[in-house]
Amino acid sequence: MKLELRGITKKFPGVIANDSVNLSISTGEVLALVGENGAGKSTLMNVLYGLYKADEGEILVDGTAVNFHSPADAIKAGIGMVHQHFMLVPVFSVAENVVLGSEPTKRFGALDIERARKQVREVSDRYNLNLDPDAIVEDLPVGVRQRVEIVKVLLRDAKIVVFDEPTAVLTPSEIVEFFSIVRTLTDAGKGVVFITHKLKEALTIADRINVLRRGKVVGDADPKTASESHIAEMMVGRPVQLTVNKATASPKQVVLDVKDLSIIDPDGRLIVENVSFNVRAGEIVGVAGVQGNGQTELVEAISGLRRTSQGSLTLDGKDITEASPRQRHTLGMGHVPEDRQRQGLVTGMTITENLVLTRYHDSEFCNGFKMKWSKAKEKAKELVQSYDIRTSDPDQMASTLSGGNQQKVIVARELSRDIRLVLAAQPTRGIDVGSIEYIHEQIVKERDSGTAILIVSTELDEVMALSDRILVMYRGKVVADLDPKKVSHMDVGLYMAGSRPENAVGVNS
């Protein structure tokens, strides 16, 4: 089967999301569709999947024009979609989820769960998905849930499978597994469209790469020959810095001192165990580790959102173990939280309001009772300018911003205060190349002005590139203190997995 999009144009009020896009995909190949957030990837796929009607252009299946009025038409034509946010019922079993919407029935409409189970087992075996049809979805890790979505698509006889940002939620090892599944699919004669903004992944798995920028296909790339920086340039429209440019750090006095810190969660489990480290003024300390090894809890404890069960925290020599989050803010702690939409922003409020969310109580913005909104608006205008937040009006809702710009709002808010320590958790998760570059620059600039910086990230590349010192967390403990210039990716990976490389190098004493 060959699927073609010809001259697809889709306009929304004020924007042209897709501008005469041409695209083709055949079975047996992987097409990567790369582009920054807001480049029109998702719109294009929603047109293909019958969720949107294109204003112009046509969709051709094996050379004949088709009309998709709904996803049902697309599915009938052999197109399947795995969304970024899974559409699964958590309390249902795998088999129940898979057949949801097209349940096999026995007489009188009774659900034929036996047949559903058998179908899941068959597909799972054929494509090496290793799924237990009776497992309850909410008990499964994210990577396995994704496979449930894949089975759903395969059972509806999809010949072309579209994955929308499939790796965003996966751990590094799950990503490797995911790629092998993609290969199995193409070997079995399926076509795969892989939507992503992670260039490395596109280069690893794709047979062809199409680059989308501002709604247009701006170029094709052959993964065998193209370089990452070349594609990044096409995506952003200008040369981009993929590595972090920074001078050698010159650490000064200790700003944050963590001593013997332990955290016990409400269920009585020891999440963080006897962790001790410090962060000095003018250095970036990166905490690496696979998600779920106590980093989130550690950050929450440092920022004052979680009680510690043992140990002490000192900021600039002052004991802050019992201090409230507000007190820590005032003492000079800036916090870029892990989940920007849930913890960092109130998306239902304006950009201005979000820019003063952690400092509205300063005498600059209020007199204790009344807000000085005109001052806040001035500040917002200034920050929108100096932090390159792309918006026409700071009085718009924060929800109207793209992910990268939302993150810039948080970074602007936290860095523009008078701060001594920046606590940044996953500062660039799920945002576009341009914004990543920008945020990294800002963090380095902040370091050079003498601020202590603690970065927590599950993206090893990011930790390696940014940090002056790397701490590796494994099962709640800091298992290594490394020098990123001397240690290899491979070795850090081994520490992250809980083992200790032989002839370990780059270990700080």
Binding site: S303, P325, L345, M349, M397
Partner: protein
Amino acid sequence: MKELIKSLRYTFLALLASLLVGAIIIVVTDIDALKSGDFGKAFSTVFTAYKSLFQGSFWGLRSISNTITGTTPLLLSGLAVSVAFKAGLFNIGATGQMLAGGMTALWVGFTMTGPGWLQVPLAVIAGAIGGALYGGIAGVLKARTGAHEVITTIMLNSIASFLVLWLLKTTTFQREGRPDPISKLVVDEARLPRLFGFLDGRSDLVAHAGFFVALLATFAYWYLLKRTTLGFELRATGLNSDAAKYAGMKSKSLTVVAMLLAGGFAGMAGATEVLGTYGYASTSLAGNIGFDAIAVALLGQSSPIGTLVAAVLFGALQAGGRSMQANTDVPVDLIIVLRALIVMFVAAPLLVKAMFRVKSQVTSQGQTFRGWGG
């Protein structure tokens, strides 16, 4: 201004749609007309009913007075629900808070002596304080123990109504010589002045200055939300309590403050009823107002202007409904149906948009309260 027009447009469309459905209900329940097949008569019933509904709410001084009287407690208790919604809380306890505020206002109203310019504000403030303290109970319970405010406010409603029943039988409150639970009369100086008191011989114009109290409270609510740090904190907590916590806001004390404010508004509703409309308290003091307040807040999407518009609409329907019943065979209960329909029609576009994941101004502002999990 833009906000007002938008909120008026939605309300108007909802009103129109529900009047249409209401007309169908009038026709199909007119058994006589159906039997005789005389649809002309049925339609003229609809016409007369709606005509007297309108006339009874806005036509002439008396109608306007009735609408104002009905609007006052609806607006104040509507604010009680709205302010809680803004902070992410679902206050079902306006009834209990009204009773609490009504009783404290009453007590001040019949015990104190002094000039009216002092007595009236004192009694209203006493009502606000009584209601605030009663609303605060649910806030403290939520902050301290995590008890969900929906449960606690419903329970507190029952407690309040039996407490009032008991209080009205005590010698402190019960009117002398009366066997039934009815309170002493508020002294004349403490009564809220009648708006049309200057017109001689029009004792039927019952509207009182409580309406200005309600308008003032609406302005205060607007000021709180838009201009103060506290309003900023309440809105942030209501929209995203996690982010508010990360920003260093104290969500627990904000919960208590929100319920205190909610109770304060509802308490004033009780106070204006006692000091204005009735001049005494009885067990039916709060009536259904505490629940109608939820509809008012939902219809007004918790905004100050929206709540005002919704309260006026409901107050008008209530006033007009009585004259509709008097002039036609259509029972006043149709008003309840109409109100329910209005709320449904307002809720429906939000629902439809949410279902199709359409992002719009309306859905983002339509945030009312978090579910049970929150």
